[in-house]
């Protein structure tokens, strides 16, 4: 068996949750459909999960439940769906969601925007992540924002990654579906790959706190 997968039975043993809970969470959208991996076994088909993501998710749900957060609110917090609210620049900075520098970069493309939609905060936060890690320069971060703005409708429907490639100092930003493998010619380096659902989840945690 692949080491990065955990069977449903082992998951239940490791976390102490029950079948009923797992099915309820699935119904409420707390666990993404594509984490349920079906594989053949002697009893027919067995379900597996991506181990690290799933264990982290269960732990998060259980800790939120301890704080008496309703399942619907947990679902909103963990789902990749955008939040309906808009956010002021000051609010975003105060919550530590996105740095002022990244928001300035965003403002350069959109001067005079005072209230940001969730998708816009997300674009700025991706730029922020790229800048902080030192993976991207200013122009590359701007390119990432532009790419996300154009491709946002696609990202809303499927799980996407933002990829930064570089060859001989020339950078390029791609949006690819999270499941895809990238094969590039030699000399092309994948500098950064940011999984949007994860980025969204982290961003939501900050914004909703």
């Amino acid at each position: 068996m692949e080491p990065d997968l955990i069977s449903k039975k082992d998951l239940l043993l490791a976390t102490g949750i029950s079948y009923g809970q797992l099915y309820r969470w699935k119904r409420k959208g707390l666990i993404p459909e594509d984490w349920f991996v079906r594989k053949s076994a002697f009893t027919g088909q067995e379900t597996f999960f991506p181990r690290d993501k799933m264990l982290a998710r269960v732990e998060r749900i259980l800790s939120m439940k301890d704080e008496d957060v309703s399942l619907d609110d947990i679902a909103e917090a963990v789902s990749p769906a955008p939040l309906p609210d808009t956010f002021s620049r000051e609010d975003v900075i105060a919550r530590g969601a996105v740095s002022a520098a990244a928001l300035d970069l965003f403002a350069e493309r959109h001067p005079g925007t005072s209230e940001l939609r969730f998708a816009e905060v997300l674009a700025a936060s991706v730029a922020d992540t790229l800048l902080r890690s030192g993976d991207a320069g200013r122009d590359e971060a701007l390119a990432a924002i532009a790419t996300l703005e154009e491709g946002w409708t696609t990202c809303e429907k499927t799980s996407c990654d933002v990829v930064l490639l570089r060859k001989m100092g020339v950078a390029m930003v791609l949006l690819v579906s999270s499941a895809s493998e990238l094969l590039a010619e030699s000399g092309v380096r994948v500098v950064a790959r940011i999984t949007l659902p994860t980025q969204i989840e982290q961003l939501k945690t900050r914004l909703m706190a």
Binding site: L13, Y19, G20, Y23, R24, R27, Q45
Partner: protein
């Protein structure tokens, strides 16, 4: 999307044979043979004759006493079928009641499902409560908080999961016709509390599992208690967990 309120939505009725274009309506009644071209957004849709819905349907209430074909997705808080319905898309519904016959090509997302007639769903089913006293077939996963099945015919689901799963033979004296063998077939059945009669499954997993009469289960895994009555056929029983 719409700024129209209920008073500005016109009602419409097809009594003979006729067409209406889609759009926003109050109550739509199809008593003869009617075709709705395009997507329909209505307060209520009532079908007493034959209806061919060519687009998607969004309505507070859908009642089918005749025959209706839905070529797109259907979204409604109440879907009552005592006639025949064929939904070729998916169904999002508050309460689904089937006492006639119903086939759904996509998946069903519901609060409550009550089946008295015949229902065939090709995709997955999600509901807080699933209650069947008729014949049903679910091509994918039947996932419900409470699954209550009274067997009056052959029922099957690829897999069943939920909190409480209760499958019993329907009472013999009920005023309901029998449809062949009365049993349930599934690959895997998983729940917290599971009670089964007349069930064939490859594997049953749960906390507290009771295998009643006339079951054929290849493997039972339980973490709490396992009880069974005479006629239990389980090739392997495993107490899973510590």
């Amino acid at each position: 999307m719409s700024q129209m309120n209920d008073t500005t939505r016109p009602n419409t009725k097809i009594a003979g044979a006729g067409d209406v274009t889609g759009g926003m309506y109050g109550d739509v009644t199809i008593a003869g043979a009617g075709t709705v071209r395009g997507d329909l957004d209505a307060n209520a849709l009532k079908v007493a004759g034959t209806a061919d819905m060519q687009g998607t349907v969004v309505a507070k209430r859908v009642v089918v006493n005749g025959t209706a074909t839905f070529n797109g997705d259907v979204q409604t808080s109440e879907f009552t079928i005592s006639g025949t319905s064929d939904v070729r898309g998916g169904l999002g519904v508050g309460v689904l009641k089937v006492s006639g016959a119903c086939t759904i090509s996509g998946s069903v997302n519901a609060q409550r499902i009550e089946i008295r007639g015949t229902t065939k769903i090709a995709g997955d089913v999600q509901a807080e409560s699933f209650e069947a006293q008729g014949v049903f077939s679910v091509g994918g996963l039947l996932n419900a908080g409470t699954v209550t099945i009274k067997l009056y015919g052959g029922c099957d689901a690829h897999d069943i999961g939920g909190e409480t799963i209760d499958v019993r033979l329907g009472s013999a004296w009920a005023f309901l016709p029998f449809f062949g063998d009365r049993n349930l077939t599934a690959d895997a059945i998983e729940g917290d509390t599971v009670y089964l009669e007349n069930t064939r499954a490859k594997v049953v997993r749960g906390a507290n599992v009771t295998i009643g009469p006339d079951c054929q289960i290849d493997l039972v895994e339980y973490t709490g208690t396992l009880s069974g009555s005479a006629g239990v056929v389980a090739s392997r029983k495993v107490a899973a967990g510590a």
